[in-house]
Symmetry: C2
Subunit: 137 residues, 2 copies
DNA sequence: CTCGTGATTGACGCTTACGTAAACGTAAAG
DNA sequence: CTTTACGTTTACGTAAGCGTCAATCACGAG
């Protein structure tokens, strides 16, 4: 009995591994692999994995990280920043430093993307000009 | 005698593999690997590789592609678009299609980056708030 | 009871992108 | 002539990121 709602705070929504896999279009193997690497920590009911909203969000973050070309190790440090406990000063300073590093990387990437988009636009213009020239005869 | 200049178009600037490696901060192995994958095609003087401006530019493009998280195969198709010959109509149409695909990918990546930057900013704010709270006592 | 469905844990395989020797060639400098 | 610097090929090693069985279990329906 999933989604037991006689109280609005008991059994938060959960997902099976197959549901998550379908939603994000990845394989079961992939999800289990992420768990193996410590990126996901689903609940276990007996032997079977039960995913909570937290896991679902993390999977989304992981896949976005992948689209950005980060390695799973890098993604781990990034994702872990999101739900870091307040902690002590050293921890916070370290976290802030990490954030700075990641931001610098991302900004470099955005510059790379913008450059590439500009150049692709040029190539496209040339192509279309060539095409027009070809068709005008 | 490199850089023979009794005419301003004879021996365009060239580089050794070590020079390129130093300039772009990659290993010789990496550069040779890119050649193996068909991404670079340096001249050969005897057995030794001689790199021309074209190769140098391509290496730059390859590395930018890597920063963007593309695979070498993807990079190959992208880089090859840059110096594609005019060619026939089918070719041009195909190229335009490729450009469209790449652009869509890049724009998705930029969205991912912007999202991530926003979220990092939030985490940073929380961190700094926690830090202030910690120091205010 | 049996079948189908969906889950589990190994464990081996494969591709990508290089690292890392090993063994050799060549050419200038001491 | 030997050393040094710089280059070459061949080839095995490796880490990441899964794919792909194989064998097994649990459960609800028929």
């Amino acid at each position: 009995m999933i989604g037991d709602v006689h109280n609005d705070q008991v059994t938060l929504e959960t997902w099976s591994i197959a549901q998550l896999a379908a939603e994000y279009d990845v394989t079961l193997r992939t999800i289990r692999f992420y768990e193996d690497r410590g990126l996901l920590t689903p609940e276990r009911r007996g032997t079977v994995r039960v995913y909570h909203p937290r896991d679902r969000v993390r999977l989304g973050l992981i896949l976005r990280g992948k689209r950005l070309g980060f390695s799973l190790d890098e993604i781990a440090t990034i994702v872990d920043m999101y739900d870091a406990e307040p902690g002590e000063e050293g921890q916070l300073v370290y976290l802030l430093h990490q954030i700075g590093t990641r931001r610098a990387e991302l900004e470099q990437r955005r510059r790379d993307i913008d450059e590439t988009l500009r150049e692709l636009a040029e190539v496209e213009d040339r192509c279309q000009a060539d095409l027009r020239a070809l068709r005008a005869r």
